[in-house]
């Protein structure tokens, strides 16, 4: 299969997967027992008003009409309006997505850099202390549920030592100070960094073990390969040899990086909740509790879409960095 | 050699692989098949041993797996005691599997690491519902010279040396008292000192038990110790069939010549010329018609783009090469019916019996 054809096919496949995800979500959400109007009724709304609401929102239209409207709107980036907040979902989600991103991207990146380094170190010398026992604390970290880590961080560094706030994005003062400034201005404050410190640490702790373990295993594997011996006998100095090993061993880590990144968007719900961080995960939990279908549905779609796109990116990246699979494709 | 029915008979046997994915089907693309085994005709008689040699990728493994009944042939037919296997019922297959056994090349992979020798030997007995397990196992271990059997029977493969593992493999093949042994380079991964003893064991067992053997290898030197007749295979086709000594002394097909010329000779006084063949064998996809060796052949002619017939060269050797028949006169007498020839009548003066089946 030619390279171009492979990429075209892979792209088509990705688009198909996105459509599939959107459709599955539609089906899932239409088959949910109870919806927002139930909650309105429960809250004591006038049945006539509720009926008018249903009519307004097209909830009484036949399913295929709803489906058509849903897909076409989604395709042009219209995810509907939040039932709870009465604002377009996109607008509601936008800042929260950014908040998640600003926590996750640096956190995961740092975890991957640190973890790869640690894994390289642990993998290089078989039988050394760091190889034998160094991996144990890493597995410990990986086995700690993220909310446990997060709570421990709060107990120790916020409550006992009082170095950091227990949660939130910025203080009310800062919010007021930058109320008129562009939206991104508040992220460039010390206050923000002060708030981000503990959640960031929690993210790093949660994701450190992945790259460490993979890198370590991968370094072992690479070291068993013939070219490692060949590099030694051709007299390459240690630095050059390490470069070859690192380059190889990092292939699987690089593959996993975008995947972790996107999985974290859904996976770090717990950390966001513990630190009261207004991210997308928290929005999901709030939306679920409020039966705010458009929000939940869109957040869910985003999370799924990110995963699909990350897998796509991985295939493309792999095709570029590993000449062996460049041609064969899958 | 008996003149009755061959035990195993391959007639124009074909096995193609089409690596067609769902995507290809959707896009309506034609995927040319890999012609791993292409029109192979071989007969194996009782107490006869036939060798198939060729380089890696020539289709021997596919041929072997087809013989084991693991692959369904794409075309042609395989007869067992005269019965076409394509019409076999389940019970007949089970009978076939009992009577046709295999010995593999790699002693490290041919035994289940989680099985003791006893487990390994017991399995075929259980599958075929035979009794007297202990007695049979002991007898067969003695036959393959793992003496005393008690010492070996409870060992795991990792507690056996390469040669011992190979003996256990042979024991597993023999325990059902089969008629035919398929051997897939059974000595190629062994040290030379062990090699000789396994070869000797195999050839003695054949003699004693009247077994037939189908021996597949890339190594002519070892094949020549076991086989009466050799088929040289190149990219899925048999290009030459000759009695063992004949092919060693006077190979006919240019590929056989190249193969034999390239074998190193353990004699410093002997001055052998290095091979003149360049390059490596092609992938067996898109080979076109014509002779498959033509791109590497030192004797290449224009006519080689046409598929060569299988012709009797000198009454002993049969080769599929344009060098060996006169195309002008198109003498039908030189055109051999493969089936007749394969049936062992390697005497000269074969009469014309019409066109060869594959032309």
């Amino acid at each position: 299969m030619s390279k171009v054809r492979y990429y075209v096919l892979r792209t088509l496949q990705t688009v198909f997967m996105l459509w599939l995800a959107a459709t599955l979500l539609f089906i899932l959400f239409r088959s949910m027992p109870g919806d927002f109007t139930d909650r309105m009724l429960f809250a004591g709304a006038d049945p006539a008003a509720v009926e008018a609401f249903r009519e307004d929102w097209g909830l009484n239209d036949p399913l295929y009409v709803q489906y058509y409207r849903y897909i076409t709107n989604l395709a042009v980036g219209n995810a509907g309006v939040s039932l709870e907040y009465r604002v377009p979902v996109i607008q509601y989600i936008r800042m929260r997505l950014f908040n998640s991103f600003i926590l996750i991207a640096p956190g995961i990146t740092f975890a991957y850099l640190l973890g790869s380094l640690y894994g390289l170190l642990a993998g290089m010398k078989r039988g050394s202390i760091i190889e034998k026992y160094g991996i144990i604390p890493i597995i410990f970290l990986g086995a700690f549920p993220s909310f446990v880590t997060a709570i421990f961080l709060i107990v120790i560094f916020a409550s006992w030592l009082g170095w950091f706030p227990t949660g939130g994005l910025i203080t009310a003062d800062t919010r007021r100070l930058f109320a008129d400034a562009p939206w991104w201005r508040r992220y460039l404050t010390g206050d923000f960094l002060w708030h981000a410190a503990l959640p960031f640490t929690a993210v790093v702790c949660r994701y450190l073990f992945l790259p460490s373990l993979i890198m370590r295993t991968s370094v072992f594997e690479v070291q068993g390969q013939g070219f490692i011996f060949y590099n030694r006998i051709t007299g390459l100095p240690a630095v050059n040899r390490l470069r070859h090993i690192a380059k190889h061993a990092s292939l699987p880590v690089i593959t996993l990086y975008p995947v972790s990144m996107t999985r974290a968007i859904g996976g770090l719900v717990l950390i966001e909740i513990v630190f009261n961080w207004p991210g997308i995960g928290a929005a999901l939990v709030d939306g679920v509790l409020a039966r705010d279908y458009p929000v939940v549905q869109f957040v869910f779609f985003l999370i799924a879409a990110f995963i699909i796109i990350a897998n796509y990116a991985v295939d493309i990246i792999y095709g570029i960095i590993d000449p062996r699979i460049a041609v064969e494709g899958e | 050699m008996t003149e009755n029915e061959p035990v195993l008979k391959l007639e124009n046997l074909q096995k193609y692989f089409t690596d067609e994915s769902l995507k290809d089907r959707i896009l309506g693309r034609d995927v040319s098949p890999v012609r791993a085994v292409d029109e192979v005709t071989i007969d194996l008689y009782e107490n006869e041993s036939i060798g198939v040699i060729g380089e890696s990728g020539c289709g021997k493994t596919t041929l072997l797996r087809t013989l084991m009944g693991l692959y369904k042939p794409t075309g042609g037919e395989m007869y067992y005691n005269g019965e076409p296997t394509s019409e076999f019922s389940k019970a007949e297959w089970q009978k076939y599997r009992r009577n046709v056994q295999i010995i593999f090349q790699d002693p490290f992979n041919s035994l289940d690491p989680k099985f003791t020798v006893r487990d390994t030997l017991k399995e075929p007995l259980q599958v075929h519902g035979l009794d007297n397990h202990e007695e049979r196992m002991h007898r067969v271990l003695e036959e393959v010279q793992l003496n005393p059997p008690e010492q070996y029977i409870d060992r795991y493969p990792k507690q056996l040396s390469g040669g011992e593992k190979q003996r256990v493999s042979i024991a597993r093949a023999l325990i059902l008292e089969p008629e035919v042994i398929l051997a897939d380079e059974p000595v190629s991964m062994l040290d030379v000192s062990t090699q000789a003893s396994i070869l000797t064991l195999l050839s003695n067992l054949m003699e004693e038990k009247g077994l037939s053997m189908f021996y597949i290898s890339h190594d002519l030197s070892t094949v020549s110790y076991i086989c009466d007749e050799i088929n040289v295979m190149y990219l899925g086709r048999v290009v030459e069939r000759s009695p063992t000594k004949k092919v060693l002394r006077e190979p006919k097909h240019p590929y056989s010549q190249a193969l034999i010329d390239a074998i190193p000779v353990p004699d410093p006084h002997y001055n052998r010329e290095r091979t003149k063949i360049e390059g490596a064998a092609l992938d067996p996809v898109d080979l076109g018609e014509g002779c498959r060796f033509r791109d590497r052949c030192p004797e290449r002619m224009d006519i080689c783009d046409i598929k060569p017939r299988f012709v009797d060269v000198d009454g002993e050797s049969i080769a599929s090469c344009h060098l060996y028949y006169d195309h002008e006169s198109a003498d039908p007498a030189a055109d051999i019916d493969e089936r007749r020839l394969a049936s062992g009548s390697t005497t000269s003066g074969v009469e014309a019996t019409g066109k060869a089946g594959d032309n």
Binding site: G226, F229, G235, R324 | S193, T194, P264, V265, P268
Partner: protein
């Protein structure tokens, strides 16, 4: 041959630390390789030949050590060289190697040309362009189109990759090339192609070679001298004609007899019963004793030393207490010892 030899091994013993104690892989091995000479080291798997290969280039496994003896390269003892000394003084400029397992010696995600450039830049002052030019030349020598130096290893067939490895071994004009089973993974025609190029290198002179293989025929065809090893000990060494015509160590002549020769398909193959022992600790016995039909008590009590075989002027050394009688007995037991006479009998 008054010239300084390229390589001398003097009673070299190499051991590995294992869970069960010290495993002796090579015991008191000695041989000498002259300038431009091709030397074949033959033995079955586990006999220590690959250990010698790794030792010569300083790449013994971590648990291995040279316990005694001296290895001299151009007269200079190198057995105590550090990794750094090997890198700076010997590897690739002086001694290069064609390792076992052709298919994965090259880094699969690096262009072959880049790997060559890296080697050149580590050891020499060559510029990129000079290195490429030299490498292209060598590709032509081993019969690969020079444009292909920029390929990735997986784009090569097994035979081609092995020839690229040979090109790399010649890259910096070493004085000694160690070839460890250079063709085991290859088909016979490919093998012959590879040896064609090794022959050419030999004709051009210059480099010496240690050819390590289990296949005695390759050594008989391509080498000047041969050493036959059994389980860590060198049984017999000499020039190939002498060893072929007049080998005296039971293992040597039995091994020779075990090799099939396609010219004489009817010759009975020699069977060497049993398996080589695992040698733990000091080896003060002949390691072939348990497999040797001619062994006597003496063979178990001490290790025979390599001694000059009388009656030959060349360096024909045998390590056997019974070299005189064993050969006679063997000859007697094989009435048709003259293999020529068995050529193409009928198949009755």
């Amino acid at each position: 041959m008054s010239e300084q030899p390229i390589l001398e091994l003097d009673d070299v013993t190499i051991q590995y630390r294992t869970a069960g104690g010290m495993l002796t892989a090579v015991s008191d091995a000695s041989f000498t390789i002259g300038k431009g000479e091709y030397f074949g080291l033959v033995g079955e798997s586990g006999c220590g030949k690959s250990t010698i290969a790794k030792t010569l280039i300083g790449a013994l496994d971590d648990n291995g050590q040279i316990s005694s003896g001296e290895i001299r390269y151009k007269g200079e003892p190198i057995q105590d060289y550090t990794e750094k000394q090997f890198n700076q003084e010997l590897r690739w400029k002086e001694i290069s190697m064609i390792p076992q397992g052709s298919m994965n010696n090259l880094d699969p995600i690096e262009k072959i040309s880049n790997q060559a450039i890296e080697i050149a830049q580590v050891h020499t002052d060559m510029t990129r362009a000079e290195a490429l030019e030299r490498f292209e030349e060598l590709f032509e020598v081993v019969g690969i189109q020079k444009s292909r130096i920029h390929d990735y290893p997986h784009q090569f067939s097994g035979g081609m990759e092995q020839r690229a490895i040979i090109a790399l071994a010649l890259f910096l004009n070493p004085s000694l090339i160690i070839a460890d089973e250079p063709t085991t993974a290859l088909d016979v025609i490919m093998q012959d192609q590879v040896f064609k190029y090794l022959d050419e290198i030999r004709e051009e002179g210059g480099a010496s070679m240690v050819l390590i293989t289990h296949d005695i025929s390759l050594v008989f065809e391509s080498c000047d001298d041969i050493a036959i090893m059994h389980s860590g000990q060198i049984a017999e060494t000499g020039d190939i004609e002498t060893i072929y015509d007049d080998s005296r160590h039971p293992y040597a002549f039995m091994l020779k007899g075990a090799f099939p020769d396609h010219r004489y398909p009817d010759r009975e193959l020699e069977i060497i019963d049993g398996y080589p022992p695992e040698n733990m600790g000091e080896v003060n016995y002949c390691t072939f004793v348990d497999r040797c039909p001619y062994a006597v008590d003496e063979c178990r009590e001490m290790a025979p030393e390599l001694e000059q075989w009388e009656g030959t002027e060349s360096d024909h050394l045998v390590a056997c207490f019974r070299s005189e009688d064993a050969y006679e007995e063997h000859q007697r037991s094989m009435p048709e010892s003259d293999s020529e006479s068995t050529e193409v009998h009928g198949d009755d």
